[in-house]
């Protein structure tokens, strides 16, 4: 069994990032989100400090750390009230896929700028008819000379307006068999024929979601990730564990933020001559949430440790469970934090009402709660599949 204490460096990183995020704080975040703005200065400053590039290999000017470090950064920023949703997508999914399967040219081009946070890349897999069921993806690339021509549609893609490019999961015809198989493309957001429409969402977030249209988007040969389409499936799988670990970290940080607000309030709010936190009706649910958070955090750390040790399969089960548990903890934490605050729980000043929808995202994306339970039922319990 490994050590249950994080390394000194990891702890120092958490502390530094939390302090850094706190300088901006939740009020700053909510103000920007409500005005429809972006937290660019926060992202850029974090990038300069190397926090966005902790997991980029050292040879590409990154921190040379692992997904556990990146997850720690993500969690601490959320806990400080300054969630950066694109961390789940840009450095974690896109950065990992390119670092593991990109051509040397692609690595040289993108990774040093992932290391500094200078570049943000969105990730597009979901389609109107292919959410939970990604086998139904229809976005298709056709080869035309050396070029690729992309057609299709994506939905709910985060942060496209902040991104220089989108990593698009499409399909292409296998040269030999003629069957459609997956292929990943890096599509610049200013490519002709590419259009992004923002989707009105009832989430208070500084990052927006978009519907994407690809209308004969012409891409050079080197837009395809890797030397050929042969590794596309592996590329997709490579992104899954980081995505889930980061999703878990994101939820964990928000859960901590809500629990912190609730405990602070429960210590000071006095209704019958004693702080409300002294009533077990208030204290016990908060204690339960603390337990849920610690358990989810432990599973997230386990998933990261297994992933870093190269055990992709073992990490898969842990990462799914961590993502599930963290999302549930966050939903419960916000629900209880709102309730602990009484009327103030829904007052704009306390910023908790704004979190109700925000933590629900963790149950839906990047993979829904039910799809995780399906995974556990089939892989961990060996139960038959219904779909």
């Amino acid at each position: 069994m490994n050590n249950f204490t994080e390394t000194e460096e990891r702890q120092a990183l958490r502390k530094a990032v939390y302090d850094f995020g706190s300088k901006y704080g939740h009020e700053y975040y909510l103000k920007i989100a409500r005005e429809g703005g972006h937290t660019n200065e926060l992202w850029d400053e974090a990038g300069k400090l190397g926090y966005m590039g902790v997991a980029v290999p050292e040879e590409y000017d990154g921190g040379g750390g692992g997904i556990g470090d990146l997850a720690a950064v993500c969690e601490e920023l959320c806990a400080a009230g300054t969630p950066l949703l694109l961390m789940v997508v840009s450095p974690a999914i896109c950065g990992t896929v390119i670092a593991r399967y990109g051509t040397e040219e692609q690595k040289q081009h993108w990774l040093p700028r992932f290391a500094t946070g200078e570049v943000r890349m969105a990730f597009a897999i979901t389609e109107p008819d292919a959410g939970s069921n990604s086998h139904k993806i229809t976005t298709t690339a056709r080869q035309d000379g050396d070029d690729w021509v992309l057609n299709g549609q994506k939905v709910f893609i985060s942060g496209v307006d902040e991104a220089e490019a989108v990593l698009v999961v499409g399909r292409t015809e296998d040269a030999k068999t003629g069957k459609l198989k997956p292929a990943l493309f890096i599509v610049p957001t200013d490519a002709p024929g590419f259009e992004a429409q923002d989707i009105p969402m009832d989430i208070v977030s500084a990052d927006k979601q978009f519907t994407l249209f690809f209308d004969n988007v012409r891409l050079p040969a080197n837009a395809l990730v890797g030397e050929s389409t042969d590794t596309a499936l592996l590329q997709l799988f490579a992104g899954l564990n980081p995505e889930r670990i980061m999703g878990a970290a994101f939820s964990l940080g928000l859960a901590r933020l809500a629990l912190n607000k609730a405990t602070e309030y429960a210590k000071t709010r006095n209704v019958w001559g004693a702080p409300i936190g002294s009533h077990q009706g208030i204290a016990h649910p908060l204690a339960q949430i603390k337990v849920e958070i610690e358990l989810a955090k432990l599973m997230t750390q386990k998933a990261a440790a297994l992933y870093e040790a190269g055990d992709d399969m073992g990490a898969g089960e842990a990462a799914n469970m961590a993502k599930y548990a963290a999302a549930e903890a966050a939903v419960h934490a916000v629900d209880q934090a709102v309730h602990t605050h009484g009327g103030n729980g829904l007052a704009t000043e306390y910023g908790l009402g704004a979190m109700i929808a925000a933590v629900r995202v963790g149950r839906i994306a990047p993979v829904s709660r039910e799809m995780i339970l399906n995974f556990v039922a089939q892989h961990s319990l060996d139960l038959p599949k219904s779909y």
Binding site: K48, L49, G65
Partner: protein, 262 residues
């Protein structure tokens, strides 16, 4: 090349509850989270700026118990090059005179020091005297309460700012001792690379004997002042509420006069 020593102290976090130990009235360091004093983060920042503007080396120097390594590590993760940690049971309860002697002796271990940077006062002891004592012991000029520092060749210029005297422009030849105020700069956050590099940087740990000092010169028993009694600050009272019936201003003025504030 400017060879800089920054004096850093580990203090109880000002956000946590701070207590004195019941037995000997020294600071109960176990009861609160220990952090690098914020003013010392600013001192480190200033040293790093001077180094980055030209060439230099930054050594952090800390006198404190074993756990002060955390404060040292923080300074190293910000970018300081190496550290000296004076740690010795005999130092427990040392007064400012002893602390300054120990620091002076430790600075003697660093070759060719050009500049010593300290905070103007710590957030726990708060004597605000170490930098001056140290300058005296080292025979160096002291430029205290700096809110702006610039090194030009072998000279140093400081804008000194105090509430009583306003701004004074000071200038001296190096080597010198500078103490900085809260206003000097915004300290940087440790970068990821800084954090990863910190553990590999050299930290020299010294005892009182290593410094050629006698244990009889330091510690609680040899302090020039003793604390005979200590009581916690009484809790804040609810204060006085004044209804404003159009005469609020007068009532405030009366209150201030009553407190001998105006």
């Amino acid at each position: 090349m400017t060879n800089i020593v920054v004096l850093v102290k580990q203090v109880p976090d000002t956000y946590s509850e701070r207590k004195l130990a019941e037995t000997d009235h020294t600071l109960d360091r176990e009861s609160a989270d220990a952090v690098l004093d914020e003013i010392n983060e600013r001192a480190v920042e200033e040293a790093l700026k001077i180094k980055e503007a030209g060439e230099g080396e930054v050594t952090v120097l800390c006198v404190g118990p074993d756990r002060a390594t955390d404060a040292i590590r923080k300074a190293l993760s910000m970018g300081a090059d190496k550290a000296i940690h004076v740690s010795d049971e005999a130092l427990h309860g040392s007064d400012i005179l002893a602390t300054a002697k120990v620091i002076a002796a430790a600075i003697g271990k660093v070759e060719g020091v050009d500049l010593v940077i300290a905070g103007n006062e710590s957030s726990d002891g708060g004597a605000g005297a170490v930098p001056a004592l140290l300058a005296e012991l080292l025979g160096m000029p002291q430029l205290t309460y700096a809110h702006h520092v610039s090194v030009e060749g072998s000279a140093i210029k400081v804008d000194r700012e105090t509430a009583d005297e306003g701004i004074t422009h000071l200038e001296a030849n190096l080597p010198a001792v500078v103490s900085v105020t809260e206003k000097i700069n915004e300290p940087r956050y440790p970068s990821f690379k800084g954090i990863m590099a910190a553990k590999k940087k050299p930290v020299e740990t010294l005892t009182v004997a290593d410094l050629g000092l006698d244990a009889g010169e330091v510690g609680l028993d040899n302090a020039w002042s003793t604390v005979s009694e200590a009581a916690p600050k009484p809790p804040r009272t609810a204060g006085e509420k004044v209804e404003d019936d159009g005469d609020g201003g007068t009532k405030i003025a009366e209150y201030l006069v009553g407190q001998k504030l105006i």
